[in-house]
Symmetry: C2
Subunit: 522 residues, 2 copies
């Protein structure tokens, strides 16, 4: 474990090993499993680092984020090989995810420099106002405090030790304590050392970053309950997210948990689109479904086909039958996947349409699966909404738009909702849009939900149970807002104000002055 400056291996601690999901072999070394003592130390250091780290100037903080990115790049092939061994993900995906991770860090560096995240507002004084003079009020955002980040299994880089939660928390000025995912401890250590090296290069307090290994119910719960932790970022299962949210709500001082949990990402195929390009849609659907062996939060797990879906289904079935076997991240995930698919297959009115290849040479082998049902069955069986994490999807043959609207009214909150519409479907699509925007955080036309852009306008979030905090996103620059809160300064002497609040805007940040937006000259 990397606790501030120290490498920590508690004597006698249990060890956990990663397992190569292709060969099934245990990977060395073993990683010690920490507990309350390690949480205590990491939280104490993070608390001690908070005031110094949050006071860093934007330029210094931006360079620190860029150094983390450079240090990750400098790990080179050693990192890529370790990720592949621990996750079974193919090299191209790992290279892409590394670029996404370092790009994310560099994007947050740009955000920190631009300063919009400070949310500066200035209401000038009016000493002549009657009956009472108006005071001088200035507002900015400050970080909540040290943040606990729970790494995800399925993005060993981009949603892990130096992933989006860590990047946005560090950008906000919050020290970070990461709980690594036991599926990829070696990857976590390599990236953790890259972050720590950047902390040292920039002379930041050691508690700015720590990396812990340990079991979720023990070390993870202790981390959420520590009074010095002010917020939690999590990507994972619904049960895991809800457990953390409950632990956070039960604290003497409750804290926010930003948990991205589960989503089946409904896709609506309107009649014109099905008629115009049904077979092409079928092939593209399965390409999205089988990406990363379906182990993506935005995998299209549910399709509503309105109208003649035969061409679409035939092409999708062919594509699933031709889909190669792929390793799943861990054998536990593989087992849960097989069980989930079997549960779905066993529901009355659900038919298996196709299955992908198996490969006996892959220890934790994932096999694509396609199921079909009709609208009446779907409406009568709530369990058909449950996420099966992996490359399994259910197509619902929907009679007409009225049945589609009735079904949409029963759906849980989602990360994404997608529409495929021909020009002739636009009147129907116009009716759909208000339903989909209340259902999901991202509404797509003509594409597939996998592939989440990292930018300013993206939302990777959505109504419960897609997330525990529907007003937020865990991807993109808006993610920084999760770790900030506004503070108002009334009649504070100019000399004591932070630069971004001073007269004349010396920091050059966007400001809302007396209700009017100013760009800050950038």
């Amino acid at each position: 474990m990397l606790i501030g400056d120290a490498d920590v291996r508690p004597p006698g601690a249990d060890e956990a090993h990663a397992v190569d999901p292709v060969s099934g072999e245990r990977l060395e070394p073993g990683y010690p499993q920490g507990g309350a003592a390690e949480v205590e130390r990491a939280a104490e250091l993070a608390h001690a680092a908070f005031d110094t780290y949050r006071a860093t100037a934007p330029e210094a903080r931006a360079r620190f984020l860029e150094s983390i990115a450079a240090n990750i790049d400098a790990l080179g092939a050693a990192l890529v090989e370790r990720v592949m061994a621990e996750t079974g993900l193919p090299e191209q995906r790992v290279l892409g995810e590394r670029a996404r991770t370092t790009g994310q860090l560099r994007l947050f560096a740009a955000v920190v420099r631009a300063g919009g995240w400070l949310g500066v507002r200035v209401d000038p004084a009016d000493p002549g106002r009657t009956p009472l003079p108006r005071p001088d009020l200035r507002q900015r955002k400050i970080p909540l405090g040290p943040v606990a980040v729970f790494a995800a299994s399925n993005f060993p880089l981009a949603f892990s030790v130096a992933g989006g939660d860590t990047a946005s928390a560090l950008a906000a000025g919050a020290p970070v304590v990461v709980k690594a995912h036991n599926a990829h401890p070696g990857t976590s250590e390599l990236v953790g050392r890259a972050v720590r090296a950047a902390v040292r290069e920039h002379g930041l307090p050691e508690g700015t970053f720590s990396l812990l290994f340990g079991p979720g119910p023990g070390l993870g719960t202790a981390l959420v309950q520590d009074p010095r932790i002010a917020a939690v970022g999590f990507t994972g299962s619904r049960s895991g997210g809800l457990a953390l949210a409950a632990a956070a709500a039960a604290r003497p001082v409750p804290i926010p948990v930003y948990a991205e949990m589960s989503s089946v990402n409904p896709v609506v195929l309107l009649p014109g689109a099905l008629a115009e390009r049904g077979p092409a849609l079928g092939a593209a659907y399965v390409a999205s479904l089988t990406t990363g062996a379906g182990q993506l939060c935005t995998s299209p797990g549910l399709v509503f086909a309105v109208g003649d879906a035969d061409g679409f289904l035939a092409a999708a079935a062919d594509a699933v039958a031709a889909a190669p076997a792929a390793p799943m991240l861990t054998d536990g995930i593989r087992r849960a996947y097989d069980e989930g698919a079997a549960r779905l297959a066993g529901r009355p009115g659900v038919t298996e349409l196709a299955t992908g290849a198996r490969d006996a040479a892959i220890a934790s082998c994932g096999q694509a699966r396609l199921y079909v049902t009709d609208g009446a069955t779907f409406r009568s069986d709530e369990s058909l909404q449950a996420e099966v994490f992996g490359a399994t999807s259910l197509v619902v043959r929907v009679r007409d738009l009225a049945e589609l609207h009735a079904i949409l009214g029963t759906l849980e909150g989602q990360l994404t909702a997608t529409v495929h519409a021909a020009e002739s479907d636009h009147p129907a699509a116009r009716q759909l849009l208000p339903r989909l925007e209340v259902l999901a955080g991202r509404v797509l036309f003509g594409g597939w939900p996998t592939g989440v852009e990292v930018g300013h306008a993206v939302v990777h979030g959505g109504p419960f149970p897609a997330t525990s905090a529907p007003a937020t996103t865990s991807v993109g620059t808006l993610a920084i807002e999760r770790f900030l809160r506004p503070v108002s300064y009334q009649d504070v002497p100019e000399a004591l104000l932070p630069a971004e609040l001073r007269d004349g805007n010396p920091a050059g940040v966007p400001r809302l002055v007396d209700g009017v937006q100013e760009t800050g000259g950038r």
Copy 2:
């Protein structure tokens, strides 16, 4: 009760009467106490109104808010008299609060027109990007859904039926169901009818606004638990706010509760300020403390005097002794106040310094009270931090700055924190600022915490337990953000996009385009 278009008085319902706190007399008429059936009907109407109301154009919504303000003004003396009879507040305060309330509605109308609340972000497509083209992504905020507002006892207009929660929710595009406070039902009815008249004038769906009367544990809990309610605004006691938050968290789909609960609003008097103007500070302190009989969330309940506080304390004691008796809002509040003051007086090491006048002619009579203790006692007795809602305050004689910092580290979250500093105190004040900004939502220099500006840069919020949602404010234009969430639109055809997201910014709203802030020409 005003449930959409209907005046509802369930046959056989219990009735509650307001009581004039000066005369102690019961005021007519009685107001029916509703329950689950009324919640069901109001929530159903709000749900039915949601899509239509949230689709109103900014100009139409702004005019609706302005009509509510005009209708409240048009109630004239009848409203002022009823407020005075139900609350015992003096006429000047009621007139001021009415102006604050209508000003708030008009300010939110301006906010709706300016459009910054939409949070528009545009990341243009890049079809030539490799390895994958960049999609077109546009983001805006939409309302969460119908909002339940719990009115406060102590601001019968500004934090009640058409107060800040209602104004900001309606501005966000959310229908509102208000639970009136039983301390001022007649005021609530008058204002409720003013809102409903505006709903009708503008041809809005009847469910845009409903007003319910009933008990908190019954009707209030049912309202928070209704699946069609998407968020809750509350101003009141800590126990009340925590009960609503627990009920909201226990729902199958949890929702946010924005509860503004309790605060003692610490004031720090630094040695130079005490030496320079101790007696003047003492008088100003008591003027702030006795405003509204101390029944303000921002009343200065706790003062830390560092250095020679004799002149300050003598002046404060004189002012308290001279403070006239004042009616408290209800006899329940008066009783709780007397009990709280008695508890404080009974703590070891706490001395009563002065008490204000009593008046046997006032049925629910509040009496100002001033207590003093020392830093060591304060640090050893956590109960001295508890809010006594009313004009009671505790002055802590603090030895030095080191003791002050130690004490500040033990304080709960607050709405405000205030510093009085002479020029010679500035080095100490500079050290204090980082402590105070993590403690409170608003940091003041040289003033007193009562009197909360309604503007853009104000924060009326703060860390738990001051509020249940520290990243928000319940006063000022930022309050609108509590009821919004971002949605991202990916590759949605131009013709289907809302105006604020279309090419060329036809709505003229501020936008973040590819990370660069644009003002929208306003």
